[in-house]
């Protein structure tokens, strides 16, 4: 039976054990990770892209949801640190399979896993796993809740390009309601002192007061053109086609007309504004192909930086 002892506030430890969300990261800790990421990026630029930091450690990539870039990124990060990386891909939920999530985790523990990198369709699942796993748990995306490593790599990308995060105006546009990327970026950017604007029709974000209660500094808007004025960063989120079937939008066409990143819209923000997307993109829906490949776009850099940032995080958890 669980005692809950595995999940305690990070402050209770001298060092961090789990990465479940960005909400328990201080600005100082995020800053340290960004600094370490610079060194890791340097490692990845070498002829031999490997350091022995995690030699002998076993990292299990526990993916209950399909993923390409996050899983490969974690795998490369683990291997660059010389860890043994095992991929576990389970289609559908563990409940449908008949084995409970807790049993799966106990099994992996018995097999000797030191770290679990997990993606799950249910918000909060990593908290449950952390109560039953003796090693470290890294959330690689849970439901609508959090995707902390994506937010860290977004922060790192912005930091590398613009040299600072404090005081920037960051516009996130799209399906905020169902987006774990939006929530983690909200924690990350607000904690680092950026001004965040969320932009979506109310069906894709919900009542403003629900957000302001947790993030009072936040701005919420349904007018993208207005929001883009003076923006330093604009991030488009993937629009899941299922949202249409749920009746949340009248049509993709209408969504695209008012909320897609087009060259004209990005011009409103100015030539210095970075264009970001966590991927995978629906080109022509939330972002136009010419914007995605423009000089302002850092979308490929985000992917490349992901490996370095995840290395920095694994390094930190290893406590070296």
């Amino acid at each position: 039976m669980s005692t809950g002892a595995g999940v305690v506030p990070a402050q209770a430890y001298d060092r961090r054990r789990h990465v479940l969300d960005l909400d328990d990261f201080s600005a100082e800790e995020i800053g340290e990770i960004l600094e370490t990421s610079v060194s890791m990026k340097e490692v990845l630029g070498r002829a031999i892209k490997q350091v022995p930091t995690l030699r002998g450690k076993t990292i299990v990539n526990l993916f209950f949801e399909d993923s390409t870039r996050t899983r490969i990124s974690f795998e490369l990060a683990g291997k660059a640190l010389s860890a043994n990386v095992v991929n576990f891909t389970a289609r559908g939920s563990s409940v449908e399979k008949g084995e409970s999530l807790i049993d799966t985790v106990r099994t992996l523990q018995a097999l000797g896993a030191d770290m679990l990198v997990m993606r799950h369709s249910e918000s909060g699942a990593p908290y449950l796993v952390a109560q039953h796993f003796h090693g470290s748990v890294i959330n690689a995306g849970d439901g609508r809740h959090a995707h902390p490593t994506q937010a860290l790599l977004d922060l790192f990308t912005v930091y590398q390009r613009l040299g600072r995060i404090e005081g920037l105006k960051v516009v996130i546009v799209g399906d905020i309601l169902h987006s774990r990327v939006a929530r983690s970026n909200l924690w990350g950017f607000t904690r680092m002192g950026a001004q965040v604007v969320l932009c979506a029709p109310q069906t894709l974000i919900g009542p403003e007061s629900f957000w302001k209660a947790t993030w009072p500094e936040l701005t919420i808007s349904s007018n993208l053109d207005e929001s883009l004025t003076g923006a330093d960063v604009v991030m488009a989120l993937r629009l899941q086609k299922e949202r249409m079937e749920g009746g949340l939008l009248p049509s993709l066409r209408e969504y695209s007309r008012f909320f897609a990143l087009t060259a004209e819209r990005v011009a409103l923000a100015g030539p210095q504004c970075l264009v970001m997307h966590p991927g995978p993109m629906n080109e022509g829906v939330e972002i136009m192909p010419d914007v995605a490949t423009s000089a302002q776009s850092v979308i490929e850099e985000q992917v490349a930086n992901g490996v370095a940032v995840r290395m920095a995080l694994l390094y930190r958890l290893a406590g070296e």
Partner: protein, 498 residues
Amino acid sequence: MRYFIKNGSIIDPARRVATIGNVLVEDGKVVQVVDLADLALAFEPLDDRTEVINARGAVIAPGFLDLHAHLREPGGEQKETIETATKAAAAGGFTTLCAMPDTTPPVDCAAVARQIREIARRRGVVRVEPVGAITIGREGKTLTEMAELVEAGCVAFSDEGNAVADAAVMRNALAYSAMLDVPLMAHCEDVRLTRGWAMHEGAVSTRLGLPGSPAAAEEVMIARDIALAEITGAHLHICHVSTAGGVALIRAARARGVHVTAEVTPHHLTLTDRWVLGWLEMHQPADVRPARRGSRDRYDAGETGLGLPAWLKPALLPPYHSSTRVSPPLRTEEDVEALIEGLRDGTIDAIATDHAPQTLVEKECEYRLAAPGISGFETALGLALTLVHRGKLDLVDLVARLTEGPAGVLGRAPATLRPGSPADIVVFDPDSPWIVDPAKFLSKGRNTPLAGQQLKGQVMLTMCRGQIIFRRGNFGVGTGALQQASRLDGFLGADNEE
């Protein structure tokens, strides 16, 4: 056997009595109630066949009536049986339970109702009164044979767990039940607004990324059912009202004479959606928002900002702890305040537990997939008493909402300690502190968000039909005040597990 319960504070809402006195019980009936002011009658009938129970410092009240309990038998015996449920109920001070019909098979025909009564007669320790289903299979389509169900002992109708989605079916159910003079207990939820829900829709669900069940889903259904009760003249009873809007609708309907009654659970009166945050509730790095939501110190100072008494600490739970998942979901502090006000002013007639035992397997999984429900019998009084300790409700009103109020919903005379009435009696200590330890529950359901929490007040002795069916430690034996052993009982649970 005769029992002489002496020196307790007698609270008998039906007779508007609250006094220090003695109660004499014989042959399953209350024989005599003596006010200590009346010294001439304050004799102790000492003889071999009389047990003297010293209740000094404790309250003596009529046994509690729970309008809303899930006993799970038949069909869900792995969660609870009528035997374990009634024993747990006795430990919570309840002497009568209304058993909800969401069993397998459901109580949609007289045979099942009779079976439940038969099992309860053989193995139950308290009175069990079945509630019949409104529709066959609780599917919201065809009305059950209501008149026959009433003949078989059903005291109300409900499709509990499911709302009757089709307004025409609900109208017919109300109209038909009107001739039977029993309440129709409505679970008010528009399921199209709650599809895929995990918790209350609000700031917390937004932060945690959990799909929400909006307050409006309950309110639109309460509004619909009130309108239907109005045109049929039937008695509508709103189950487990949880929203401020719902309370307002019920208050307005009662004011214009609609026959609507309502109940509220102890957890909706005390806990909020912030319990789903667990320790995230109080854990915020100082560099973001210093002390906005409070630190440990503020908890200890009694300011939780949660509408909670200082001694209840959601931070004992990990975030997303499935014990906090319940239907309807835990709402906000504003809702809690409105529910308390509704209970105080009589808009809400009764406190009902919605005791919903679940197995560990159904709870130890991803939050949204966990079966909703709280095992409520054994914490009901302690949780409800937090309102008294905070000065929100007086003790006599609290007892009334557990006895007279629910009796009124069922259209019967309130339980009382009047001589000649059945000896269904609860003796409870309103101040005794204890730590909730689910491992010690008599219920099979260990699902509670209150594990490790301190509550003040617990049942010491329960009597049904003149028989002692629950006794904590050796309460009442000897001449001392409350037995020290019984007070320690709760503290020993400090090493509980959850």
